[in-house]
Symmetry: C2
Subunit: 215 residues, 2 copies
């Protein structure tokens, strides 16, 4: 019985990793759609968001069902509760990729990103990708060293976000209000994406160590 | 034993309502600080956010402890899982009020909101307050009629958000990029606040009816 339970717990962990993989693809594709003005890829990300949502619903039902049947206590219960929270964060990260892709689609055939900001958005996309790779490792191997690295990567994302706003506020900004609104929202989506990665990473850190990695 | 369990369950419901009350005060005060350029009130909201966070942590620990001790199944388990999710939404709504208050503080002694947008932000604040009042009722009385009304109120918030962007995009917009960035973010905070109210309301609706109120 105990083994069956842990098999199911492992299965939940596997599905969370699968969600993480889909979120990685979604955000990479969304960034690529944005930077290469690629409508097909944008549409693909927008359509794929339902897949992530469906996996979350199925996973949460499975998790709650396992709680009801096996009545876990202590660390097993905490792991299951944490799984519910992680799936919610991952679902939201998928939503944010979807929002990025919708910005790309909304401005097509124009680019949503003016040339001055291509380097910043490129960098934000790379940090997002690095974050999610580390997150997979944190989730799969309960890797607390990488969990702490994610905090630093999030600081990098925050700095890029400040840089982005700084460029918008430059006196010479030639692109007007609409582009500034677009870029403000895009910057926010990447920043929030990183925040959710930090949130998941902190949950794993707490599960492993019993301590909060930061305030 | 059964009664003790339900007393504790009621206690969790009471704490969730208390959080909702604090979130209502936070968002009302934040809107007021923004519109009346009131630094003292902005500081009060910013300082009070920790209180909401602390209540969430204490409540979640209590909820998980109750799960471990009482091993609930079926509807009791679903109620406890839903409580964890609702506390996360309420905590995030508190964060959004905190963000609004920080915008007020950042621009003080100037107003963060130009005169053209005072009516829109005022209306967004009123919709936010209406939403949270209805949400209290939905949570306290499991009121599915009001749960459906919250969907309509959220549509109203989305319309105000579109109006706000429309005003920013007006050719005559005289306030420059910085104010446009501020207002884009503020609009987003109110919109997300409403989204979280909808999310909680849908969870209650599902608990009561076993059906999703919408997609």
């Amino acid at each position: 019985m105990r083994n069956a339970f842990h098999d199911e717990l492992d299965g939940i962990g596997t599905t969370l990793l699968q969600m993480t993989g889909l979120v990685k693809i979604a955000m990479n594709d969304a960034t690529s759609a944005l930077l290469t003005v690629d409508l097909t890829t944008a549409e693909k990300v927008i359509a794929a968001d339902n897949v992530i949502d469906d996996i979350q619903h199925e996973l949460d039902a499975r998790t709650i069902n396992l709680m009801a049947r096996q009545q876990p206590v202590a660390s097993d219960l905490r792991t299951l509760v944490t799984s519910l929270r992680m799936s919610a964060d991952l679902e939201r990260m998928g939503d944010l990729a979807h929002h990025v892709a919708k910005q790309a689609r909304m401005r097509y055939p124009n680019s949503a990103v003016p040339a001055e900001l291509v380097p910043t958005i490129t960098a934000m996309g790379l940090v997002a990708d690095k974050l999610i790779d580390k997150l997979s490792s944190v989730m799969e191997h309960r890797d607390t060293v990488r969990a702490l690295e994610i905090e630093t990567d999030d600081d990098e994302m925050d700095k890029l976000h400040r840089d982005l706003i700084g460029i918008l506020l430059d006196d010479g900004w030639p692109h007007g209000i609409e582009t500034a609104i677009d870029m403000t929202l895009l910057g926010r989506y990447y920043e929030r994406f990183a925040d959710h990665a930090v949130s998941i990473s902190r949950r794993v850190y707490f599960l492993v160590t019993g301590e909060y990695s930061t305030n």
